[in-house]
């Protein structure tokens, strides 16, 4: 918990948003062979937005949490934008490849349960998948920029060895062909090297921004809960925070609750944990645990006399 909640969470959210904004802009641009800039179009972006929306709605339904103040709303908007930019950035812009990737992303990102450690949707496995899809997109962009409109071409043995130009059209087999229109290339063709730089940097910035934003959003929620607990008298507030440690607040479902429900939930949790604590204490006081592990006999009697020297218990 930070000494200055506003400073810490707001700075993180702002920086995360900046990273996402810059990264999203880079992922949305391409440079043609003449050095002119153009956008990557709306198709992949719309699909990315749809997938991100699905992922966020499912997450909200699972967790039952909603943003409760301006910073919370900003965090959710940033996360949505980041997820949209990343998903649309790795999608092939068109053709059958795109639909295969949509199905894959829907299965792995949208319907996957959020990971606690990685701060939301982007676990390390998902991150690896997204990086692989980006690599695939870069590969087909490279092929297209070289005017090779297929994933790869395989030389046909013998035919490809013959030095006759008229055999050129049948010397190779193209695998996974695509068209410039499917790829959304500008009319002057794609300049691969600068576009590669734009997309790679954009992807990295978006992912970093999303992680930072979600971490800050969690910190902001913790700050909000902390503020509520500290409306109690100081000693009592410290006691509640010892019973309910901050690390468990998200897992206990305290994030995203409205203030009144949050208070009720904390009351219920404190009550539940105190009851459990009392039950445990009673069990320890009754010495039942000790009797269950006592080997009995002379050694057991001595051991019991040392640990529980009350002679009246023997009489009972």
């Amino acid at each position: 918990m930070s000494a200055n909640p506003e400073h810490s969470a707001t700075t993180g959210l702002t920086l995360g948003g900046l990273l996402v904004g810059v990264g999203g802009a880079l992922l949305g641009l391409q440079i043609d062979q003449n050095g002119s800039w153009s956008g990557t179009g709306w198709t992949a972006f719309a699909i990315g937005a749809l997938l991100a929306l699905g992922a966020m709605l499912l997450r909200a339904k699972r967790e039952g949490s909603l943003p409760r103040d301006r910073l919370g709303i900003f965090a959710i908007v940033t996360s949505f934008a980041a997820l949209t930019f990343v998903l649309s950035g790795v999608l092939a812009p068109g053709g059958p490849w795109m639909f295969f990737e949509i199905a894959l992303l829907a299965a792995v990102v949208v319907f996957k349960r959020p990971q606690e450690r990685a701060g939301g949707w982007i676990g390390y496995g998902v991150l690896g998948l997204l990086a692989a899809l980006l690599f695939f997109k870069l590969w087909i962009a490279y092929q297209g920029s070289e005017n090779r409109w297929a994933l790869m071409s395989v030389n046909i043995p013998v035919l490809s060895w013959l030095p006759f130009e008229f055999l050129d059209p049948i010397k190779r087999i193209a695998l996974g062909s695509f068209t410039p229109h499917e790829m959304g290339f500008p009319p002057a063709g794609l300049s691969f090297a600068p576009t590669l730089a734009l997309w790679s940097i954009g992807f990295a910035l978006c992912v970093a921004g999303m992680l930072l934003s979600q971490t800050s959003a969690r910190e902001h929620e913790n700050d909000r809960i902390h503020e509520l607990i500290h409306t109690l008298p100081s000693g009592l507030a410290n006691f509640v925070e010892r019973i309910l440690p901050e690390e468990e607040w998200h897992a206990l479902g305290l994030h995203g609750l409205p203030e009144r429900r949050l208070a009720r939930r904390i009351e219920a949790l404190v009550s539940e944990r105190m009851a459990r604590q009392n039950e445990l204490q009673s069990a320890l006081d009754a010495g039942r645990l000790l009797s269950q592990t006592n080997p009995g006999g002379f050694a057991g009697g001595i051991y019991r006399a040392i640990v529980d020297p009350d002679p009246r218990r023997d009489a009972l």
Binding site: E6, G28, Q33, G35, W42, V77, N147, A188
Partner: protein
């Protein structure tokens, strides 16, 4: 419980929000449309379908060029044009260009190149006709088999150096300039492949350096002529940027455009 936001924090959040909106908006930037200069219709008298003057049927319209030449050199131009368009014994290019008629033609080409655009076009038409009517294919037994092709290449290069960039935005000269780049690459590739065994790297490297500079290949931004070549011969230009046989793409496109331009008078 709302965490209060300072003014600075609010400004930062609003600025970040604007940036996010911009990041979405950039996707709508449309690619620059390729407008061919020759698609613009000029008013007044003009040379219509200029590529016909550079093609195999140039002889049929060659006489139309005379009216566009300045009066003080029109007579000389007409005589040289008639001589060149009626050259029928396919002489060796270097030999003929070193003859009296050839020297006269070379001077005329240089003069026209410094004139107005129509004269520059006439100058290019003469170079094309020279390439069509003389033999410049590398000779097998020659000591310098590439000399003929290199001479023709240097004439094309001179024209491109003076007019290449200006021509890219000119309704009359844009298409001829693009074809001149292709023909230059074709001619220089023949010079490169002149020896019976092996190749000559000097003509290739010279041509590559010149085309790089002329079209802006490998630079952050293509030249105007480079954009035109990219739009029409993108595949060839991609191969030019590669390491293996850079001139082949442009040369093949030149052969497609001018199949009779083979260095042996179309035989």
């Amino acid at each position: 419980m709302q965490v209060p936001l300072s003014k600075q924090a609010r400004i930062a959040l609003v600025a970040t929000g604007v940036l996010l909106v911009l990041a979405v908006a950039v996707r709508g930037i449309t690619p620059r449309a390729t407008v061919a200069p020759e698609d613009v219709v000029e008013e007044g008298p003009r040379i219509v379908e200029p590529m016909q003057f550079l093609g195999a049927g140039a002889k049929l319209r060659g006489g139309e060029l005379d009216q566009w030449i300045a009066a003080d050199r029109r007579t000389r131009f007409k005589a040289l044009r008639q001589l060149l368009f009626n050259l029928d014994n396919c002489p060796d290019l270097v030999e003929w260009i070193d003859s009296m008629d050839g020297q006269g033609l070379e001077r005329m080409i240089a003069e026209l190149r410094t004139g107005k655009r129509e004269e520059a076009f006439a100058s290019l038409a003469l170079v094309y006709q020279l390439a069509r009517a003389t033999e410049w294919k590398p000779a097998l037994m020659s000591r310098t088999p590439q000399a003929e092709a290199e001479r023709l290449g240097s004439m094309l290069q001179d024209w491109l150096r003076m007019w290449g960039e200006r021509a890219a935005k000119d309704t009359l000269l844009a298409e001829p300039a693009v074809s001149a780049v292709l023909l230059y690459a074709h001619v220089m590739r023949m010079a490169e492949n002149a020896p019976v065994i092996g190749t000559l790297s000097a003509p290739r490297e010279r041509a590559k350096a010149y085309i790089n500079e002329l079209l802006g290949v490998g630079q952050s931004r293509r030249t105007a002529l480079g954009e035109l070549v990219q739009a029409r011969h993108g595949d060839a230009l991609s191969r030019f940027a590669g390491r293996d046989d850079p001139l082949v793409g442009l040369a093949k496109d030149a052969q497609t455009l001018f199949p009779d331009m083979n260095g042996t008078c179309g035989k």
